[in-house]
């Protein structure tokens, strides 16, 4: 409209306001992380020690690596409950091949390939046949772990080649002590953050998560993108399987049992909405640290693991309930 009437001035971006920063979920998570660090320091004199903290990273890095692609899946309204079962199957494959005399790097490749294959299988069922991912991955969760159980029964594979434990148990840098698995997590988190927040790929994921129909009507191949995400989740589960097997040096059919829960908790606490379209990699990384270091602090004062899981379960619920309540109190209305 060349000769249009008076135009309104439209700013390039929203004027900065402190209240917007304070209301960001990442800001709240950062405060929570500081709170956890302070609490840890207060309740245990062993907490604030570089070696203690470094040790703790072994316990969450493998899960955290899977949380990254899981965040993207949940962002696009899908879910993968079979990740822990994929670990079992990938670990089994590595164990069997170790028995055939393969070296450490070949085993790593096998773990990744099996993980990827499982992810592709999930993805094809969801995208090609159009099945709900929750049912598909409940099914494959039984199938994958079931296959591991068929082969292993109640036995364990514990013979792995020399050097296999390096990546799972070793450090990339001696000082400050940074474990291989933790370093991998940090690198992957950076890659995922850039991919989600700075590329066309990431932008399209947000569009899919917010409105899959409009995304499809905008020429985004929604099904292909979802297939990629399921495959990526499988691949990362394969990587985690390699790191975990390498760290503990054994494969049982119940390896990583129940991990899907911890991983999904990381993602949801990180601010990724199960309804899709909302969430950042930064939030998930913060949630990983909060959960990891809170677990460390509690175990340092001898709180049993299962009690910690009560707290984690409640934290998951609270982390969804609180924003809803804040919104209600502040009078925002959902449409």
């Amino acid at each position: 409209m060349s000769n249009a009437t008076q135009r309104t001035e439209v700013l390039d971006r929203e004027p900065f306001r402190w209240s917007n920063l304070f209301l960001r979920w990442e800001f709240i998570l950062a405060l929570l992380l500081i709170g956890v660090m302070v609490m840890g320091t207060v309740i245990s004199k062993y907490f604030l020690d570089i070696w203690t903290l470094s040790d703790a990273t072994f316990n969450f890095s493998e899960k955290a690596i899977i949380a990254l692609p899981m965040a993207l899946l949940i962002l696009t309204r899908e879910i993968d409950l079979s990740v822990a079962a994929i670990i079992a199957l990938a670990s089994l494959a590595m164990g069997l091949c170790a028995g055939l005399g393969y070296g450490p790097w070949a085993l790593a490749a096998i773990g990744l390939v099996v993980g990827l294959a499982c992810g592709v299988f999930n993805g094809l069922l969801v995208t090609k046949i159009g099945l709900p991912s929750i049912v598909v991955t409940i099914g494959t969760m039984s199938l994958f772990r079931g296959l591991a159980q068929v082969v292993l029964g109640d036995q364990a594979i514990t013979t792995y080649p020399a050097g296999f434990s390096t990546l799972g148990q070793g450090y990339l840098i001696k000082w400050p002590p940074i474990a291989w698995s933790f370093a991998l997590f940090l690198i992957l988190a950076a890659i995922f953050a850039v991919a989600l927040h700075r590329t066309a790929f990431g932008r399209r994921l947000y569009a899919i998560g917010n409105n899959p129909t409009a995304a499809k009507f905008s020429g985004i191949p929604v099904e292909k993108y979802k297939l990629v995400l399921f495959s990526l989740t499988g691949l990362m589960a394969g990587l985690a399987a390699f790191l975990l097997t390498s760290r503990i040096g054994s494969t049982r059919s119940n390896i990583a049992l129940g991990w899907e829960l911890d991983i999904i908790t990381m993602v949801i606490l990180g601010g990724v909405s199960i309804a899709g379209g909302v969430g950042t990699v930064g939030g998930v990384v913060l949630a990983v640290f909060i959960l990891g270091f809170a677990t460390l602090a509690l175990s340092l004062i001898n709180v049993p693991g299962i009690v910690i899981s009560v707290l984690m379960g409640l934290l998951l619920i609270v982390s969804i309930a609180v924003p809803i309540m804040i919104r209600r109190v502040m009078g925002f209305r959902g449409v």
């Binding site: 069922l125 709900p132 409940i138 099914g139 039984s142 296959l147 379960g313």
Partner: protein, 331 residues
């Protein structure tokens, strides 16, 4: 053939029938009345849990916390028996049901009032409820010798050749059938799941329905907690671990649509029976029980694929000839 495709229950009943016959031909002992009674008894808890889960799924929800609820309520009940072994059995049952109901109420109230997604809510309580067993019991288990006979004998009491557990299940199944098929509220559940917006126009209240189904789901889980602990004679933090998946699988096999609004009591019972037969046939067929999980996974995937085929919808019927063809096909 067409009839079979249209009527899932009939098809499923046939499959289960063929399975039982096949196993019976291979191992005649499997089809002896005693063994069949045993299979029914052994599957009763799954029957009950699957029916409750079906009701939740009808409203487009899911309750992943049922197995943890079962274990926690069972623990409370066992612990009452440990301390007061001479109470009438109804007291142990009542405690388990009350505990289960309250745990279900917690799920239901947060889901319906705050609108927390059911999958996230019950994933959280799945972890929390199981952990509470240890918080409560300090990690100790209650063994058969500590529970007392009153507590343990009731579920196994034979009535007309089958156990009391089975008869409880039958009573519940009939109640569910009446509730879902013959009451306003029950039909309302189908309406809410099939089309929440239209249901609202009809004055059917989603929030009340949600609260109801999670409370009922919790109550049944509590009841099954007592039955499970009394039957297997042990209560500790790991019982029925992962059982929620079997329960959901039974629903999916029974034709319950995870998208809501579709599912029947008979179908769900057949889905659960399918599982019960497989689990009990494996030892008879000399297959290690380690196959059970893989088979159930494969069966879930197969069932959901078959369901999807039935649910596929064609385009709109705009052309007059297409409308006539569709109308003709149905007449």
């Amino acid at each position: 053939m067409n009839l079979l495709l249209k009527n899932r229950e009939l098809a499923l009943a046939l499959i289960v029938g063929v399975m039982i016959t096949g196993i019976g031909l291979y191992a005649p002992a499997f089809v002896s009345p005693d063994n069949l009674a045993y299979v029914l008894d052994d599957t009763s808890i799954l029957f009950m849990m699957a029916m409750a889960q079906m009701m939740v799924i009808l409203t487009r929800g899911i309750d992943l916390s049922v197995a943890s609820n079962l274990a926690l309520s069972g623990m409370f009940s066992a612990s009452l028996a440990q301390n007061f072994p001479e109470l009438p059995v109804i007291a142990y049952i009542a405690l388990a049901v009350v505990s289960g109901t309250l745990l279900g109420l917690f799920n239901g109230s947060l889901i319906s009032w705050l609108g927390i997604p059911p999958i996230a809510m019950t994933l959280g309580t799945l972890a929390a409820y199981r952990g509470l067993i240890v918080v409560y019991g300090g990690g100790n288990q209650v063994n058969a010798s500590e529970m007392g006979d009153i507590f343990q004998n009731f579920p196994k009491t034979p009535v007309l050749g089958v156990t009391a557990t089975f008869w409880i299940m039958v009573v519940l199944a009939i109640s569910f059938w009446i509730f879902l098929g013959q009451t306003r509220t029950g039909r309302g559940l189908y309406a809410v799941g099939g089309n929440p917006v239209a249901a609202r126009y009809c004055g059917v209240d989603l929030k009340r329905q949600q609260l109801l189904v999670y409370v009922v789901s919790g109550a049944i889980a509590g009841l099954c907690g007592y039955l499970w602990v009394a039957r297997y004679g042990v209560a500790y933090s790991e019982i029925a671990s992962g059982f929620e998946l079997t329960v959901i699988a039974a629903c999916v096999i029974g034709g319950v649509s995870i998208a809501g609004g579709v599912g029947t009591v008979v179908g769900t019972l057949l889905g659960a029976l399918f599982f019960g037969v497989i689990v009990n046939a494996l030892p008879v067929m000399q297959i290690t029980p380690f196959w059970q999980m893989a088979i159930s996974g494969a069966v879930i995937l197969a069932a959901v694929m078959i369901n999807a085929r039935g649910e596929q919808r064609a385009g709109k019927l705009i052309l007059p000839e297409a409308r006539r063809a569709a109308a003709g096909g149905k007449a």
